[in-house]
């Protein structure tokens, strides 16, 4: 830390043969101008973020406007999607987005919490870094690679092993949730890949929050004779609860907007089906899948309207999540 100080501080004494007072005068004269420019530039960069967010919202709403104007609220409730007649309703996509994301949360949350607890409480120190690194690496894999792996590895596995097991061996085939033929591309497949993708986000936030729990809290529980698990359950998790919830909601935000992997695995059909084996659609995947072959301005605008709905939902979900995490961070201080 001390080395850069050295180099940087010595430098100004060197230049020119002019007197130090003249230099100081120059510096004072130049200071207000230079400082003004510097201040202006950094402030402008800071303003760029709110402006960009505003511009994004504006442009997306503009692109979506024709569809909203034509269909009004029925865009959200109708499940008719007919390019030929020019009627568009996004209900199946909204349903698919919510179901796939919530299901992904149900699958990922216990696992992510388990990893977070493992890393913050149980893991021996030599195992902590590599496991944390590997889990974090899951977040670095591009969505399209998940999709590729999903198509050629996950789908066959689900079709040949998991789906027959759920429907046959467990006898759930008669329930509406696991009925119908198992083709592979399905709501279930999308939820499983989403669960893998959001796991690192939930576990990273949970781990951070768990580690922020004061030591006194743990020691108090231990001193009262609690076992390690009792300490975690009764002293650590309650303290970290709202932060963990924030992490889960952050994961939800990720899952809602995830596009490529879902597009490649969900089967892309405009239908609401209770069965998780049936193909579906999400707001993001319909845009990715149909944009290239969109027929006419209204079709394109309907796709953009799906994007606008998605934008609204994720803005809301993210704001809630950030607020919750901040709340804990502030309390922990």
């Amino acid at each position: 830390m001390s080395q850069p100080t050295h180099g940087a501080v010595v430098e100004p004494a060197a230049p020119g043969g002019r007197s130090t007072t003249a230099q100081a005068d120059d510096a004072i004269a130049g200071s207000s101008r230079g400082d003004g420019v510097y201040r202006f530039l950094t402030t402008a960069a800071a303003w760029a973020i709110p402006l960009l967010l505003g511009l994004i919202t504006l442009e997306v709403v503009l692109a979506a406007w024709p569809a909203f104007e034509t269909f009004g609220l029925s865009f959200l409730t109708s499940s008719e999607w007919d390019e030929v007649r020019g009627v568009f309703g996004a209900a199946p996509m909204i349903y698919g987005t919510v179901v796939s994301s919530v299901l992904a949360l149900v699958l990922a949350t216990p696992l992510a919490l388990g990893v977070a607890i493992f890393l913050s409480e149980f893991a021996p120190s030599w195992l902590r870094t590599p496991v944390a690194f590997l889990v974090d690496l899951l977040a670095a894999i591009p969505s399209v690679v998940y999709g590729l792996w999903g198509i050629f590895v996950l789908l066959p596995f689900l079709r040949e092993t998991v789906m027959p097991f759920l429907a046959g061996t467990l006898g759930l085939g008669n329930t509406p949730f696991f009925s119908g033929p198992a083709y592979g591309p399905s709501m279930l497949a999308a939820a499983v890949i989403l669960a893998i993708m959001i796991l690192p986000y939930i576990s990273a936030v949970s781990r951070e929050v768990l580690m922020a729990v004061p030591r006194s809290q743990r020691e108090a529980a231990m001193a009262l004779g609690a076992t390690k698990w009792e300490m975690i359950r009764d002293a650590v998790i309650p303290y970290a609860r709202s932060g963990i919830v924030g992490g889960v909601i952050l994961g939800l935000g990720r899952a809602l907007g995830e596009t490529m992997a879902v597009t490649m695995l969900i089967g892309n059909r405009h239908e609401i089906s209770s069965s998780l084996f049936a193909p579906g659609y999400t707001l993001a995947s319909v845009i990715a899948n149909e944009f290239a072959e969109a027929t006419g301005a209204l079709h394109t605008s309907a796709l953009m309207a799906c994007g606008a709905v998605l934008l609204g939902v994720t803005l809301l979900v993210n704001a809630i999540a950030r607020w919750l995490v901040w709340q804990v961070a502030r309390e922990g201080r």
Partner: protein
């Protein structure tokens, strides 16, 4: 420190009180068994979480490695039915897109990070910090729609610039966040020493503070680049893809993730093979950038930054 905060939060104590109650409830053996069981469950959870990563890496290596050769990096894609061909144009296209994105994302992100670190408490700083988090959480496909409506639609054609802008917008919150964090790590005494020696504020910020924090900021920038390198959704209707060799900024441009997507959903085995190879190259690219980022951080703590 902690003792002073305890009385203000009575609800935090309930957990401890419950633990006391439990201590008397179960027998010690049972409680120890539960403890061991839960410990086992956490180990299994960690194993299950790491498993998909290992599987993905293994499949990528098995399916993709055999197709990687010099041709893959230099040749153009071949039409359906012909064996061979590479993804030279897609790899070059991805590099161009990353360049455009960095040209937009880095100056704004670093500038905003400087502002946030220096004007820590101001109202603008607080809201910008929050909004940059919100921006970070926006779905990438929304960035695509934004760039399409903003640039592609008015100009009437897809372009590398539009794709770069969509990716650059995604970079801004990432770079802002790390820049702020890194600059906050620079000791105040350093800034004060420079100011006391007569440095103007802007020179202090740029030549002393920013310079000290530079390795960390470089790391942050590289991590941001690694994250957007694999993005596909924002490019679908901005960069669009291109079958031919094109690096022009005002023309549609090919990109590695786009090409992987198109090949993966195609019905041809030969294209599937190329998709796996492309995915392996993409992961390799992301990994190399991340490793360089790690190296940059290490040299920072290893001393001798100059």
């Amino acid at each position: 420190m902690t003792s002073s905060t305890a009385p203000t939060r009575p609800r935090r104590d309930t957990g401890v009180r419950r633990a006391t109650a439990l201590r008397t409830a179960g027998t010690l053996t049972r409680r120890r068994a539960v403890n061991a069981l839960m410990q086992g469950v956490m180990y299994v959870a960690a194993l299950l979480a790491v498993l998909p990563l290992l599987l993905i890496v293994w499949h990528l290596a098995r399916e993709g490695a055999s197709s990687i050769s010099l041709d893959f990096f230099t040749r153009m894609p071949k039409p359906v039915g012909e064996v061979g061909g590479g993804m030279g144009n897609a790899i070059a296209g991805t590099l161009v897109l990353l360049g455009v994105a960095s040209a937009i994302g880095l100056p704004i992100g670093i500038g905003a990070g400087l502002y946030l670190a220096e004007q820590r408490g101001s109202r603008l700083a607080t809201s910008v910090r929050f909004l940059s988090d919100v921006l970070n959480g926006l779905p990438s496909i929304v960035m695509g729609i934004f760039a399409w409506q903003f640039l592609v639609r008015p100009l009437g054609h897809f372009s590398a610039t539009a794709g770069g802008i969509a990716l650059g917008a995604m970079m801004i919150p990432l770079v802002t966040r790390t820049t702020e964090e890194m600059i906050r790590l620079v000791p105040t005494s350093l800034r004060e020493a420079a100011l006391a020696l007569g440095y103007t504020r802007w020179r202090t910020s740029l030549t002393v503070v920013l310079r000290t924090a530079l390795p960390g900021i470089v790391t942050g920038a590289l991590v941001a680049v690694a994250r957007i390198a694999g993005e596909t959704a924002p490019l679908l209707f901005t960069a669009f893809g291109n079958q031919f060799w094109s690096l022009a900024l005002d023309q549609p441009i090919s990109a590695l993730p786009l090409q992987i997507f198109n090949y993966a959903i195609s019905p041809y085995d030969e294209w599937h093979r190329l998709a796996w190879a492309g995915a392996l190259v993409l992961i390799g690219l992301v990994l190399i950038i991340s490793l360089i980022a790690r190296y940059a951080t290490r040299s920072r703590f290893g001393g001798g930054g100059d």
